[in-house]
Amino acid sequence: MSRESRGLGILPWLVAGWLAALLLAPLVGSHSLDPTAVFGGDATTATIFWQLRLPRVLLALLAGGALSVAGLSYQTLFRNDLAEPYTLGVAVGAALGAVLAIRFGLQEVLGLPAVGAASFVGALAASSVVYGLAHRRRGGGGSTLLLAGIAVSLSATAVILFVQYSSDSTQTYRMVRWTMGGLAVVGYREVLWLLPWVVAGCGLLVTLRRELNLLLTGEELAASRGVDLGRLQRWVLGGASAMVGALVAVAGPIGFVGLMVPHILRRWVGHDHLRLIPACWLAGGAFLVVCDTAARLVLAPAELPVGIVTALLGGPFFLWLIFTDRGR
């Protein structure tokens, strides 16, 4: 049966790539590590591997996976190829939260770094506003939600610019640096904070896989087959946005991963979300690890924020989308 066989072929390769990213990326950097030294008792090498690089790679795997799965869900929910955490205002909402926390010099909220907590709140607030706006218009479908997302993005961006303009130069530098997104200065604490959000978000989306598949033939048919569209929108938007909010809180906004990975994966895996969700999670994680490794190597021993690397790839990718037949 084509449905059963298609796409199974690539999953083992994705698992292999994911494991390769996990095991090899921590060895690469401004200082290449010898695997025998890591396990052979060399204390400095072991510290770099276990305390600096491995948590960073783990965070990249989680974050890339979460961004890709969230992008995939948004694209299916809004039936729009351009939907992703960025275009829907979720990432910009998070950035607004962070920028306000920096501006007002907040340090800690409930034991969390204030910038992270504020960005998490910002992401959830933005997605609630987007959902609320779209539903004030009766029968708000996918395109209404996407337009509401763009409206929220533009407004939040304007406020961010205003706050930056009214801040002193140190604050402005911190804001600009934060909005570039990055995985530097990360420990296991951030990994452990993100893990439950990603597990819960992806788990929820996997249970909604059939509803997401049904949206491929349109909202009208999905509803006539028993899908409660309003509830589905709330669950998908809420689940994916909480996951994105949590990761933006630790890594800042990292764009385009959620756009690029699902597009490429659909070509290989097909459109069944039962396969697409795990495939996007694996490929997105490995992809962000590769981008982050590149970010660490390009200017070594200094490093580039990973958001710049993904954005550099995102521009040409958009063009590729425009000039191939991927538009729906």
Binding site: S2, G218, E220, A223, R225, G226, H271, R328
Partner: protein, 263 residues
């Protein structure tokens, strides 16, 4: 839900939007095994009626009942066990195979916690594909098919849903004569099985005269005529309905209304 109740009953159903009444007030009953054609000019409210009956719109007044049970008290998923809908407007690009599209009709029967559909689901899909006559297309991508073949796939998906009420919006639009004939035969076959109540909006008066037990003529959201095909598909009624002359053409023992193109 007792069998004595009509399969579908609309009581004083109305639908308004923007202060304008699009449909109703309207009363309508459909019994199991009956095929009802809904005809009327563009904008008469045919699609609105179908969407109300499919549970996709809530009437602004009155109520729709399925075997006596009012729609609002039927959860969406359970309603989908009974009512299947084939809309006229669908996404232009659907990246799925015919079998995947038809399998989607099984959604109300699938458990959220089972990864794969059951053998019973695949059996229902096979039967629906066979009834519609597109079993050989099942592995083809929907995007690669002709309009008629796509229409057949969506009808098969609605059949796989195994409801008792089948709602079709303009099923023969965009179909060439061969596929129109195929669809008409399919509706006749479904009618003979007496398992489904069928509600079909159509501009195809020939189709209506051939497959329908009764015809509902809608104009400006109100019932202009409701009765047997012979009663409604008469030049007098049709001229009132469409503001254009018709005549009857003998087809065997039956009379078929045709549009008078020459004065």
């Amino acid at each position: 839900m007792t069998p004595a109740q009509p399969l579908l009953a609309c009581r004083a159903v109305e639908w308004q939007t923007g202060g304008r009444r699009i449909l109703g007030p309207l009363d309508l009953e459909l019994t199991a095994g009956e095929t009802l054609a809904v005809i009327g000019p563009n904008g008469a409210g045919k699609t609105t009626l179908l969407r109300l009956v499919a549970g996709l719109l809530e009437p602004t007044a009155g109520e729709v009942r399925l075997r006596g049970e009012p729609y609002p008290s039927i959860p969406r998923r359970r309603l989908a066990h009974h009512v299947a809908y084939v809309p006229q407007i669908r996404p232009a690009r659907v990246p799925l195979s015919v079998e995947e599209v038809v399998l989607q009709g099984r959604f109300p029967h699938l458990s959220r916690w089972r990864l794969a559909p059951s053998e019973a689901d695949f059996a229902a899909v096979r039967e629906a594909l066979a009834v519609v006559g597109i079993a050989d297309l099942r592995h083809r991508r929907l995007d690669e098919l002709s309009g008629g073949e796509r229409q057949a796939a969506y009808v098969a998906a609605a059949l796989a849903q195994e409801g008792e009420l089948l709602i079709l919006d303009e099923p023969t639009t965009h179909l060439d004569p061969r596929h129109q004939r195929g669809l008409s035969e399919l509706l006749l076959r479904l009618g003979r099985r007496r398992r489904h109540g069928v509600l079909a909006a159509t501009h195809d008066l020939h189709l209506a005269s051939r497959v329908a037990d009764r015809v509902l003529a809608l104009r400006d959201g109100r019932i202009l005529a409701l009765g047997s095909t012979e009663e409604v598909l008469r030049p007098g009624v049709l001229e009132d309905l469409f503001d254009t002359p018709f005549r009857l053409l003998a087809e065997g023992r039956r009379q078929v209304p045709v549009l008078e193109l020459e004065p």
